[in-house]
Amino acid sequence: MKIISKEDFADFVNALIADGSWNVVGVKSKRDKFAFGPLESANELRLDYDVTLLPPKKYFFPQRETLFTYDLSNGFSAKGFTAEAKPIIIIGVHPYDIVALLHMDEIFSETKSDPYYFEKRNSSIIIGVNIQKMSKWCFAPFMGCATIEYGYDLMLTDLGNRYTINIGSQKGEELLEKYAKNVTNALARDVMLVGQKKREIVNMSQQKFDFPPELIPELLSKSYEKSGFWEKHSEKCLACGSCVLVCPTCYCFDIKDNPDLSLERGERVRTWDGCLLEDFAKIASGENFRPTKPTRYRHRYFKKGKYLFDRFGFISCVGCGRCSSNCLPDIANPVSLFNDMYHQIRDKEMLIAAATTPEVKIETEGNIDYVPRLATIVKKVPMTASEILFEIRLNDGSELGHKPGQFVEISVFGIGEAPISLSSPPTKKGTFELCVRKVGNVTTKLHTLNVGDMVGVRGPFGNGFDTEFLKGKDLLFIAGGLGIAPLRSLFNYVLDNRKNYGRVILLYGCKEPRELLFGDELLALTNRDDVKFKPTVNWCPENEVWTGNIGVITTLIPQVDFDPEKTYAIVCGPPIMYKFVIADLKGKKVPDDHIILSLERRMKCGVGKCGHCQINQIYVCKDGPVFNYSKIKGVPEAL
């Protein structure tokens, strides 16, 4: 531990500013509140603050960030992120915010590492300060985040006329050596004083947990369906998103295009988003997968206290109290909510006995690339009034290399990105096919593009169907409406490798004959004796001809014979369809783990980060979109 007088510390800060090679920011006053901001002089620093309006994550994951710029005027060019000119030094970070940054580090490196975040984070220097005043909402001591022994480069403790400095890294030590004067070793007295301060800090909170917060994950898992609980707590919710926007561990985001007035140049940006906002889980067709206030409100607590705990092994709350202090109707205080939840549990001993530590497996494989690969439309086949089949080739001549059931993020520059399932099997070389329904901005624009026009492609994303596992099995495909698009990829793959699979049945239903997709291709199946194909329509208008079955998709299930023990049902359709199809399959004695579903959600980033496609703890974009029914039947938001 080192010691520096306050005058010398001010000189140190001023020297950092004067040096010019750093972006020096620190805590400053803003009206009667505090905020991290650029420092012009050490005099502006307010290290005696209680809490800042926003946490320092804004420097690594800014409110708005350009992912890349594009220019269509001369062919196409895209420029990804460029390194910040100067590394940042953040002065005055409280321990709970340091813990939050460590959480963010893990989150942003899971699966694929986020270069936009780490480019800024890795070069940063964090100068922490121990809490001197605690906001009345802060409960960091309960979360074990009121003091910290790591995660900083330097850590200050105010001892009146001087600071003690804990050195947390070599970078911190070098900084001190180069820019600070009169730094001496701390005396035993100072070491003792710091210890005393830290013990005081731990008792500073005005909030009170009635139980050990370590029980939160288990408590939550007992409270998901608690009757009236979430309704009562969220009744006054204004859906303003304040609680999540000020949170140091929230990281949901949206991705948007921002063309300039030339319309040929522009940028793709990512902006903060929040799961408390009404449209967060809404897809282009208008379906909202988390449509009510109580469900959105509940999701926030579960994400923090259960889903991220199961994934990373930490409760994603550091107790800063910002959510509580920013909620006008005063319903966002986690302490009050969890206490209420705890008191409603009758058997409290059980809770303690049941609490477990999750097995955490974090894997990182390369960086996320938000810049799409350029591709050209080589064929455009209108299929119905609202669907077009696009055949697309990557401009660099490479194969997309997808598995059946995966999807791509397709870009129309200036409009944005949309997730579209691959319709062609991987056995089709050179190009891939997307069956696109005109439903949102991107797909509407896509429909106006022609052969030769260029689009962007990211992916393939998702798990896809396990074609190896399905080998030798009987397959019962059940597709409703546009659900045929992803299933066709697997179906055609199976046909291309016909001898590897058992019996193959395809049941396909749509609203009316004119909405039948891949009509010619599917009707040709009736000539094959190694495939059974049965289509149905919900109704047939008088002026149309239809000789097949009339009725919803489930009316076909009793019409086909299959051995439920040998058969795997592969189901994809509109959200409403699953419930009924699954019930009928179970009626036919198909075991749960023989039902395989492909689910639709708002996949935005494709790499399990942005949060839009989340169903409870599952990210559809990376854990799905293909799921074994036995694995998700207990996931309440799934079906």
Partner: protein, 245 residues
């Protein structure tokens, strides 16, 4: 062929068209993308041959409806600009009063000569394709909407309240400053411009799709506003949306 654009005004202050006229350099760039055929505030010429009609102001008389319907017939895309056109705006304050009284207050003895009815937004009369909210409109948002229309994209108008932008901008909450704000129920998209400048959100962009008005009124009262004052806050811009028709 550049799309032809026309501007029209009804009951309003013409402040929104002034915002467009004040685009300065960007207006010139914009003119590279569109051809303005009618814009009373900046040019003498007028043509009824246009693709996009921008309409400012509320509809306050039965006669105005014919003109609106004619614009709808001529235009492929109708855009309401400014609060008076998008949500009825402050004109709708008068909907809470007796309309004969209102006429007498404004026109005195000649009140009979001037017809009127409850003020209303453009979409109460004709279908509207896009909205540029605000009082006045924000120039950048106007350009965003124009760019979207030119690209064939539905303009991206937030469904969330102004609080989202206040938080991102790290504003000290108006309530924390002892003031009363309706940003919690007001549609965002203005980048919380008023609160950024240290005042409050007045609600000029109208209510969000599903406002929790009861909760918000409770908040206003909890922070010390009287019930009447809280209702007054909602009447300034939300009259039509609150059902005062």
């Amino acid at each position: 062929m550049k799309p032809k654009v026309a501007f029209f005004d009804f009951a309003g202050c013409e402040g929104d068209q002034l915002q467009v006229a004040n685009l300065e350099e960007e207006l010139l760039t914009l003119l590279g993308q569109v051809e303005v055929v009618s814009f009373r505030e900046v040019m003498k010429e007028h043509s009824n041959n246009y693709d996009i009609a921008f309409i400012e102001g509320s509809c306050t008389r039965l006669q105005d409806e014919d003109r609106l319907k004619q614009i709808r017939k001529n235009a492929k895309i109708v855009v309401a600009i400014g609060s008076c056109a998008t949500i009825g705006g402050i004109n709708c304050i008068r909907n809470y009063k007796d309309l004969d009284e209102v006429r007498k207050t404004v026109y005195g003895e000649n009140a009979k000569l001037f017809d009127t009815y409850a003020a209303r937004p453009v979409d109460a009369v004709i279908p509207v394709d896009a909205y540029v909210h605000g009082c006045p409109i924000d120039r950048d948002e106007f350009l965003q909407v124009v760019k979207s229309l030119l690209l064939g994209k539905k303009p991206d108008i937030p469904s969330y309240p102004v609080c989202v932008e206040c938080k991102k901008n790290e504003n000290v909450c108006a309530f924390e400053r002892g003031q009363y704000c309706v940003g919690t129920v007001t549609r965002a998209g203005c980048n919380s411009c008023c609160v950024n400048e240290g005042t409050i959100c007045w609600g000029c962009r109208g209510l969000v799709d599903n406002p929790n008005e009861n909760s918000h009124k409770e908040v206003l009262i909890k922070y010390g506003l009287t019930v009447d004052d809280a209702i007054g806050k909602f009447r300034l811009y939300f009259g039509w949306q609150e059902g005062k028709k």
